[in-house]
Point group: C2
Chain length 274, copies 2
């Protein structure tokens, strides 16, 4: 982590190079955010395709599109053919990595989104581990149960030795393999996009109240939800003094996929009772 | 190409494994399609982000998200920082590759889209070549003109030694470096999505006439445009005997970005005069 902190500190410019941000009017409530390991696990759990880097026989690192499913420990499972160059590469050299990126919206800067590299080595699972690995892949690609039986296909599990997470411009961290394995994907990940739209469309009044009470911006005029996760919401507030990003935490972390509704209702109630 | 042909021939199953396709009722007009080299150039020209495979100091191929612009010869230009692992990797080892994939629509199979690997080695351009390379990158990322001046940033041009193109399931080819360099991107690429929608929404009658006359399906009941390019259209036709993919070529290849309208109008006129 010290390496990551040092990079952030000296990253192309430093203080003063960004846009002006309005200061809070009072102390915001403390809030929790996802750890880099949790960000990484969440991105992997919510993805089913990435780019594999394998080593070609002429020594060139070979980049190719692969599909995957993740094991319970967040290890990507590939089902690849030896007819493809990356399949032959993995059979010859186990060292490999996979990068995964959040989908980019039309017109957005591809470097403004979250992405991750999982680096390590592939193994061919056997017995019960092979069955579990195939099921992990097949949850996204059911036909894999059929074509995994072809002679030219091999199931590989990427054993993750190290992880590099980039959350966007100048937001990044290295993650230890054990921290990655121990972290859990955000259970609210699949429902987050819907919840964000719903809050912005139907509960702008609640968002504004959260920004004014818990968020530390008493003079917030508008607040929109930029993202939502198991621990809280990221708001963008507009004040007469300028805009600012605001984090507001839930009263309790959400532990179940359907828990965002209860958490936002509880937060709205607490804000009204302030 | 012989390698690619052999792969296609023996690819997981062969004849009989796909869905039943209705045969033409009469001989279709000959039509031209983009070569794999043209497909590759078009995909690169229409993209600005991909996955780089570089070689980490522990020998692990390192996959990471990169942005790029393409030179006039279709060589990706990267502007990367030595603070990033891939920047340090390229400074130490020039062998590298980039994979680029068409965006995947929600719910679609990521392996059903076109993707490409450009493999070769990076060079640091100098003088006029450096200026041209930076401009190629900056056409997508104007801020690169500023940050390319930071000490930690380097401009790299990927010299393409070999190309692997995959057009979707079981549609693939290796492309020689000279063929890749000599091919041109499809000038109609940027307007193709709009033209396809417009044809389907407002000119279904023309599409059906093309399928019946030039396409070889006299009993076509419905025809929809699946894709459009400089050489013609790919239709999906429905007949009482089943569905079929149909290719209908334009009278002349389109050579300019705005040329699709004229080509489709000319084709419609020729079809009515049959």
């Amino acid at each position: 982590m010290s390496d990551a902190a040092a990079e952030t500190k000296t990253f192309h410019g430093g203080p003063g190079s960004g846009p002006k941000i309005a200061e809070p009017t009072h102390e915001p409530e403390p809030s929790q955010t996802r750890t880099p390991a949790e960000e990484a696990r969440t991105l992997v759990e919510g993805s089913k395709a990435g780019a594999l880097a394998s080593l070609s026989d002429d020594g060139t690192p070979w980049s190719s599109v692969v599909t995957f499913g993740a094991t319970a420990a967040g290890e990507p499972v590939l089902v690849v053919s030896s007819m493809a160059e990356h399949g032959r590469n993995l059979a010859r050299e186990a060292k490999a990595s996979i990068s995964i990126a959040e989908p980019v919206e039309d017109g957005a800067d591809p470097l403004d989104r979250a992405r991750i590299t999982l680096a390590g080595h592939v193994v061919v699972p056997e017995g019960a581990e092979a069955d579990a690995a195939l099921e992990a892949h097949a949850k996204h690609f059911p036909f894999a149960r059929s074509y995994a039986k072809y002679d030219d296909f091999t199931i590989y599990v990427l054993k993750v030795d190290r992880v590099r997470w980039v959350g966007g411009f100048a937001r990044m961290a290295s993650v230890e393999a054990e921290d990655y394995a121990a972290a859990t994907p955000d259970p609210t990940g699949p429902g987050a996009a819907y919840a964000r739209r719903h809050l912005n469309e139907d509960h702008a009044d609640s968002l504004l109240l959260w920004a004014r009470t818990f968020g530390g911006y008493a003079d917030a005029a508008v607040a929109t939800c930029e993202s939502i996760d198991r621990y809280g919401v990221d708001l963008k507030v507009t004040t007469p003094r300028g805009d600012a990003p605001v984090r507001v935490g839930f009263l309790e972390p959400v532990t179940e996929p359907g828990g965002l509704r209860g958490a936002t209702v509880a937060l709205a109630k607490a804000a009204r009772e302030r």
